[in-house]
Structures are given as C-alpha cells and as structure tokens.
Amino acid sequence: MSSIKISNLRKTYGQFAAVDGFSLEIPAGSVFGLLGPNGAGKTTVFKCMLGLARTTSGLVLFDGKPLVPETFERIAYVPERSVLYEWMTVAEHVEMNRRAFKAFDPVRALELLAQFNVEPAKRSRALSKGMRTAVMVALAFARNAPILVLDEPTSGLDPINQRHVLSLIINEAARGNSVIFSSHQIGQVERAAEHIAVMDRGRLVLEGLVDDLKSDRKIVEGIFPNVTYSLNGIANDPRVLRADRTERIVRLLVRDDADNIATMLAGAGATGVRVLDLNLEDIFLFAVSPADATADVIAKGSS
C-alpha cells in the first residue's frame, strides 16, 4: 500500500493554476525526490498534501485514508521558510513539540541540535537562516514519524550541515520510513532519493527510479559527413524523446535501448556514433527545458 497517493491534484489561485493535474504515488519506506524549476508548484503540492491550502480538486490519501488532524501524529513537515516564533528560544520550540506530538523525542532533538551546532538557549531571531532551517530539520527528525515531508531541507545550510541532513534522510530510509523532499541540489537528490518526480509549470513531466532513469536514458550522438542528410524517420521512433541537430552533429535523447538506436543511426550514415551517459542534472534539464532550446530542432514528423 502506498504511503501517500496524490490523484489529479489541482490548485488554482484565481485564474492561475499553480498545480494542474498532478498525480503521484509514494510507496511506503521510499525516498522520493521532487524536482522542478522555481515556481513549478512543488511547495504548493506540499501545502495541498498537508491541508495547508485547500485543493481546488483532486484527492490525497495517506495509507488509503484522507487527511485528518490525527494523521499528523505520523507526519513530520519541514516548510520552505522559517516558521519558528522569533521571540521563543529553541528550547521552547522543543518543549512545544514535546507537548504537541506523542512520539516526539526531546533527547534526540537536543542531540540533533548539537550536531547542527545550534544552542538551545538562543532565541530564534538570533539565528541565521541556515540555523533556523537546521532547527526545523532537527525538530522534524526527532518526531520519529513514518512520513517526512521536507520542502528544501538544506536551503541556507553550509556543506557540512547539508551532509548531516542527507545522512538523516538516509537513516530514516534505512529505518523504513518514507521521505518526500524537494531540493534544488540535484547532487543530493541523486544520492538520497531512489524515486524522483520532476514538476514543471504545475504538471508532472517525469517520474521514475533514479537508477533506471540513468541506466535507460542516454544521448546517442552521431556526425554526418554532409549538412544535408536524412534520419530515415529515427526521430519518430517512440524511444526517441528529443532530437537536436547542430550543423552536422545529431544528438538524440533516447528513453531506452540506446544501443539499437545507435546502430540505426550508424545505418543512416552517421559516423563516430557514441552513446553518452546522462546524470540526473542532464535528465532534469532536458525534462524541463522547452523542446526548442537548442537550435534547429528536428520536429517529429519531418524527415
């Protein structure tokens, strides 16, 4: 049974659709990375998931059941910006969590705060942005919640603390808990997440296992002897997602079966045919950039 199931989520603010038909299933005990450019709607998805904003339409189920206040015993949330009370000390925030959540472990919270080098006696307004994020992260991970929803949990943190957060996420995964987090740091997502989803302009544009995406998606590159050439309809092959050409060089973004496509390209007269690996950043950029980002795109249906 999936931990979280989002079906056809739609959220409009007036005429503007921040989230437009978003569906996702997050299996229990998995780490899910949510990627997307700024303004893609990631934070809105989180807010709708957690009832912080009213969905215009669509359904969110937690373990098959809709969200009710009691569900929050099992969900820990780190918002994108600091929601700490400026006038309260960090220790008072720990106490607040202790009273609000049954499974909260104040000893663990203090340990985590020490790891992040945060003094519990300090008032929130005396903390830098990164330290406020660290406090919210520490409080969330001390919750021992089976589901963690983290919106940019490493924003503002120095590299050492970023590693800490990553280790915490991996630790939770090892304990069998689900983590869904959004981040602009693709390297972190590559490490910690086994599933990713890419959002753009309110829609889901890509979803899958990181390892599979990396294994399957490749660039097949070939060089033609003349500027004029025909691809024999290779660009229309369903396995070819994008086809870019720059003068004599053709690059095909293939969904899988790269070796076969390479052979086909060689058969069409290309030389120096290579299969190039894609890392997650490449996959992400291809997923969200417009199809005509590179010059002289060969549109599907021609040649």
């Binding site: 998995s30 780490v31 590693r163 990553l166 280790s167 991996i170 630790n171 995964a173 090892a174 390297g187 590559e190 490490r191 910690a192 997440a193 086994e194 990181v210 390892d211 599979d212 990396k214 294994s215 490749k218 030389t271 120096g272 045919v273 290579r274 299969v275 190039l276 690996d277 894609l278 890392n279 997650l280 950043e281 490449d282």
Partner: protein, 128 residues
C-alpha cells in the same frame, strides 16, 4: 569506496563495479564480510535501497552471498576463480568501451588489432 552521484552511471552499478574490482585486486578477501546495507548507505551517503540493489546484483553475479541475519560475504567458490571472474568482468567492460570508442572514430578491424598488439607488448612484456 567512493561513488560519484553526478556520473551518468547509476550508483548501484558503480558500487557493483567497485566491489568486483576490490575482489579482483584482493582488497576484499574471500569470506570477508561486506558492510551492512545500512552502514554502507550511511558511509557513502546514498539511498539504502540503492545499496541493497547493488548487493542483489553482486549476489546474482555470484560475487557475494548473503545469509539472513549474518550478513554478506565475499563468495568462496575457488579463490582464484572468483577473483578471476571479477577481474574478467571489469576488464571486459573496459575493453568494450575502448572498442566502441575506436569504432566510433572510424578505426578498422586491422587498426584495432594493431593497437591491441602494441598495448599487449607494452603491458605484458615478460610473456612474449
């Protein structure tokens, strides 16, 4: 062991290759215990399921064996045999990449044969 998440090679495959290389080079002895999935995940800062998948691949390739409750150990199916198998895998993959590269720049079969002979002379001089 290190992994490069920015590489186009999936992390689980990187782990598989590195374990195989370690076995081939004798860094990992036969019967030696591998770190637990959780421990390796934390050490490398990668997802535990990725490590688990790598271990499954290694088991499928007969490089390690896993006993529930005891852990994962380098397989003892003839020490030279497993080392050699591992080494062969590594070398074969590297050769395939080299040959594909050669072909892509337009070398002929004979060109490649010459290159290989020169290389063997250089690397295995005592066996001439």
């Amino acid at each position: 062991m290190t992994v490069d998440p920015r590489s186009g090679v999936p992390i689980y495959l990187q782990i598989v290759e590195q374990v195989k290389r370690s076995v081939a080079l004798g860094i990992l002895q036969v019967g030696e215990q591998l770190p637990t999935v959780k421990q390796l995940a934390l050490d490398l800062t990668v997802n535990p399921n990725t490590v688990a998948r790598a271990y499954r691949e290694l088991e499928h390739d007969d490089v390690i064996e896993t006993s529930p409750g005891r852990g994962s150990f380098v397989r003892d199916n003839g020490s030279t045999q497993s080392a050699k198998t591992a080494a062969s895998d590594v070398a074969r993959d590297a050769l395939a990449i080299a040959l594909r590269e050669a072909k892509s720049v337009g070398l002929s079969r004979n060109d490649v044969r010459e290159l290989i002979d020169t290389a063997i002379d250089r690397w295995f001089p005592e066996e001439q």
